[in-house]
């Protein structure tokens, strides 16, 4: 735990008084303190190119009244700095009259250990693995022309102080290991990448069988892409593999079910609560409570314990994801989904681990049922236009399907669809749900937060594939 007042001219008592005084006529608000330490070690082009260590400290002070949020943040935890912020909040909300909402649930559940992954291993141990990764890949295959590998680790300590002195704390570890490889054959270059991570120590990733698996997978994808043909263009059937392809769920429906867009009625889902938005058999949850997962949180960034929120149950829209502000304005409760990238940003309702649950069919049955279509196994990033509902994502490993059989690999293409209708096009849900390997970062309003996704294989009856072959 960080003691945020140790080297400051500001005592906890004085801070509590300023907080209570500033928030007394507001509906909600808090002082959020954060101390994070992070490192990144990068191997690229046969060398350790970067070893970077970052330490970040600061506070964000928020006052909420009605629909209005006043926010002020600073790196300096000092009497003067907090007073400047308090005055800034007061000047924005000078004519308000609210009743402070003291209710906040308590839970002692923790979904990760209180550790600092950076300090648990020496720099030399990490450098030595990265060098082994480089040697292993380059000796494994003559086509390998470039290898990039990196470790990144973080420990973030937060403290939330609410009006009246109520205090909530959390310490969050996060690590990630990534490998990217470029291969070249007969003048043609392609890449493949793979990574793993979670809220835990590096231990798991430093075991030889584990880092080798990551390397093998990156190289396999790169080699598949060397043989890829131009992708088809137009509407067709799409089979998605299990695990990471669930970023389709994240983009297509996840963002549209965040509370703020629905309160503001700018989401294509805002008037569909209780209605059928997906095929029968489709159930989607957003779960912050899975041990050691990248998207898991013991408490969210407002102090609310996280939970497993059912978003869509058997095709019916059941819940939106809420932070305290949007929950209050929509007369519901926070689902523990209030998140921020760091103290520089206001809280927004965000996803944690977004998962489509298993059905009964097998992936084989799906492939066999397709005359002409594609089988998408791995993806790069995705994006959505919340208002029109249109979303895209980019395949990094995909194959054509012809007459029920998997054919040649195809070049990376963008798939585009319509969020509110895509889940109605899901005609088979697989029995093979898988979590992603722990590498997702979701961007919204300029804020990146770690998230997870999961899904079984699914068959989508109609989607537009953005290839070049007509």
């Amino acid at each position: 735990m960080s003691n945020f007042f140790k080297n400051s001219d500001l005592s906890r008592n004085e801070a509590e008084n300023i907080i209570s005084d500033t928030l007394k006529k507001c509906d909600d608000g808090e002082l959020y303190l954060e101390n994070s330490k992070s490192e990144s070690i990068l191997l690229d082009d046969n060398k350790i190119k970067d070893s970077n260590y970052n330490s970040d400290l600061g506070f964000g002070f928020r006052a909420v009244s009605g629909e209005t949020v006043a926010y002020s943040h600073s790196n300096e935890i000092s009497k003067n700095s907090l007073k400047v912020s308090a005055n800034n909040l007061k000047s924005t909300l000078k004519s308000v009259q609210g009743i402070y909402n003291h209710s906040i649930n308590k839970s002692n559940k923790r979904y990760y250990e209180n550790i600092n992954p950076i300090e648990q291993k020496t720099l030399n141990e990490k450098i030595s693995i990265l060098n082994k990764v480089n040697d292993y890949l380059r000796s494994k295959n003559d086509n390998v022309k470039q290898v990039t590998a990196n470790f990144s680790g973080e420990q973030k300590s937060i403290e939330i102080i609410r009006s009246g002195g109520e205090t909530l704390t959390d310490v969050r570890p996060l690590v990630r290991f990534n490998v990217s490889v470029m291969v070249e054959k007969k003048g043609r270059k392609e890449t493949g990448g793979y990574g793993i991570g979670g809220r835990q120590s590096y231990d798991n990733y430093l075991r030889e069988d584990n880092w080798k698996n990551v390397c093998d997978e990156a190289l396999r994808i790169a080699n598949v892409n060397l043989e890829s043909k131009p992708a088809p263009a137009g509407e067709m059937k799409v089979v998605l593999g299990p695990g990471w392809p669930a970023i389709l769920i994240h983009e297509a429906v996840g963002h549209g079910l965040e509370g703020d867009f629905n309160r503001k009625k700018t989401s294509a889902f805002h008037d569909l609560m209780g209605q059928k938005v997906a095929s029968e058999g489709v159930t989607i949850v957003d779960d912050g409570t899975i041990d050691n997962r990248r998207g898991s949180l013991s408490i969210d960034d407002e102090g609310t314990p996280t939970e497993k929120t059912v978003l869509i149950e058997n095709g019916i829209l059941k819940n939106f994801m809420q932070d305290r502000l949007n929950a209050r304005l929509m007369k519901t409760r926070s689902t523990g989904s209030g998140r921020r990238e760091n103290f520089r940003h206001v809280v927004l309702p965000r996803m944690r681990n977004t998962m489509m649950l298993s059905g009964e069919q097998t992936q084989d049955e799906m492939i066999k049922s397709v005359d002409k279509g594609i089988f998408a196994v791995s993806f790069g990033g995705g994006q959505v236009d919340i208002t029109s509902g249109k979303f895209v994502f980019n395949c990094t490993e995909a194959y054509e399907i012809i007459n029920g059989k998997i054919g040649s690999p195809i070049k990376g293409a963008t798939l585009i669809g319509d969020g509110p209708s895509i889940l109605k096009e899901v005609s088979m849900v697989g029995n093979d749900m898988m979590l992603d390997p722990g590498i997702g970062t979701c961007g919204k309003a300029g804020q990146g937060v770690p998230v997870g996704v999961a899904q079984p294989s699914i068959l989508i009856d109609k989607m537009t594939v953005g290839g070049t072959k007509l």
Partner: protein, 438 residues
């Protein structure tokens, strides 16, 4: 107030001295301070105010050819002492890299150019609120507009870049940004679009009324879109999308992509990569330019470069490290381009629209579909069908795809270049791309 030059210089020299005392043979420091104040409106009401007070320091230490770096937002002496000690220790334990070095002393900037990048005017929140109120009235005039969000940000920054070879320079910059995002609805669809204005000087930003009106017009014309069939068709990129082609080009000619061999433009220097009529400049000394700078992020002086001359690639964007790898001198592009732009083409916007009997006019793309290794491009797109020079109806849920190597050779530019952003393009037509729709 942002921290003044003296405060930042003192911090920088403290770090350099301490790192040298602890055994560093070379040190680079960048220390910055910024204060930004934002007011957001939604549906004609105050939605959010945000004051942001930022400090930050980046320190890189060298011991011979070994290098490591730290960054922090905590500039208290105790913390800096711990971090610098950690940085020097890490440097000792990091393997050597023969190309690691501070920039060549002869290339460092000798002076700070007079670029007029700082406007000291302060606009009170009351005045921001007044601007946004007028903006939202203008944006919501049409009943089809069902939601308006707008924002006004004033930003003041100061920085000092210093190294152990005696370089120590920095300057203040400011920016004023206003934006308007509107949502329109009819019985068939709901659409969102935007307009924004960003300038170094307060007096140069667009009027509130103009901004709100433009956002609303962009949005309303997108209502009731259709999906078209898959075909090969000429595509016209609106300026706000066309500039993205330049950003991809800049990525592909960065010395880091070139030295790693991960660019489709590797080994293309002095070769023709665009059609004859294409000229591309990177000009760092435009007065009040959004990308203007006196030196790059290593302190190396930046001069104007004609990157592409009549279709031929003339320069990569070179920094010190990758320059040494490629046996090239840094041309002051560590951290990227400055004011990057395509020179004007020869035909008018109107003639470009009617150059083909049928074409697609793209106003927005989504997705990260640019692969600079292979040059493959595939993104989601929104726009309009244009027939015989006239806008017919809005289009969405399509993708556009091609390969940059071919696309670059098929670019035709209009003569309507304006300097609205740091990277700027006239309206652009590319023939021979594939649209995937129905």
């Amino acid at each position: 107030m942002v921290k003044d030059q003296e405060y930042l210089e003192k911090k920088a020299s403290y770090c350099i001295d301490l790192a040298k005392k602890l055994g560093a043979s070379g040190v680079g420091v960048n220390v910055g301070s910024s204060i930004s104040e934002t007011v957001n409106f939604r549906n004609k009401k105050l939605d959010e105010s945000n004051r942001s007070d930022n400090l930050g320091i980046d320190i890189t230490t060298y011991i011979g050819k070994k290098k490591s770096s730290i960054s922090s937002s905590n500039l208290l002496k105790d913390n800096l002492n711990i971090l610098i000690e950690k940085c020097v220790e890490t440097t000792k334990n990091t393997p050597e890299d023969e190309f690691n070095a501070l920039p060549d002393k002869n290339l460092l900037a000798k002076e700070i150019k007079e670029l007029n990048l700082y406007d000291e005017s302060h606009i009170e929140n009351e005045d921001k609120i007044n601007y946004l109120s007028r903006l939202e009235v203008s944006a919501s005039r049409d009943t089809k507009i069902v939601n308006t969000e707008s924002s006004f940000t004033e930003d003041k920054s100061n920085f000092v870049l210093a190294n152990s070879d005696g370089f120590c320079k920095g300057y203040k910059t400011s920016s004023f940004i206003a934006s308007s995002v509107t949502v329109a609805k009819d019985d068939k669809s709901m659409e969102r679009d935007y307009e924004y204005t960003l300038k170094c000087h307060l007096d140069d930003i667009k009027s509130a009324e103009e901004l709100g009106k433009a956002a609303a017009e962009h949005t309303i014309r997108k209502l009731s879109p259709k999906k078209i069939g898959s075909e090969k068709i000429a595509i016209i990129f609106d300026k706000r999308i066309a500039k993205g082609m330049l950003s991809t080009f800049a990525n592909a000619i960065s010395s880091s992509s070139i030295s790693r061999g991960t660019s489709f433009l590797k080994d293309k220097i002095n070769q023709k990569i665009f059609s004859d009529s294409i000229n591309i400049f990177d000009k760092p000394d435009i007065i009040k330019g959004l990308g203007s700078k006196s030196f790059d992020s290593e302190g190396v002086v930046t001069e104007t470069l004609k990157l592409v001359d009549e279709g031929i690639l003339k320069h990569y964007l070179v920094d010190t490290y990758n320059g040494k790898k490629l046996n090239l001198k840094s041309n002051g592009r560590c951290g990227g381009t400055s004011n990057l732009y395509f020179d004007n083409g020869k035909i008018s916007y109107k003639d470009l629209l009617s150059a083909n009997p049928k074409c697609l006019y793209i106003t927005e793309t989504i997705g990260h579909g640019s692969n600079i290794i292979t040059g493959d491009y595939s993104v989601g797109a929104t726009g309009f069908l244009v027939e015989n020079g006239e806008f017919k109806y809005p289009i969405n849920e399509i993708t556009i795809a091609g390969n940059f190597k071919d696309m670059f050779k098929n670019i035709t530019l209009a003569n309507d270049l304006e300097f609205e952003y740091s990277t700027n393009s006239p309206t652009m037509m590319i023939e021979g791309m594939v649209v995937a729709g129905k």
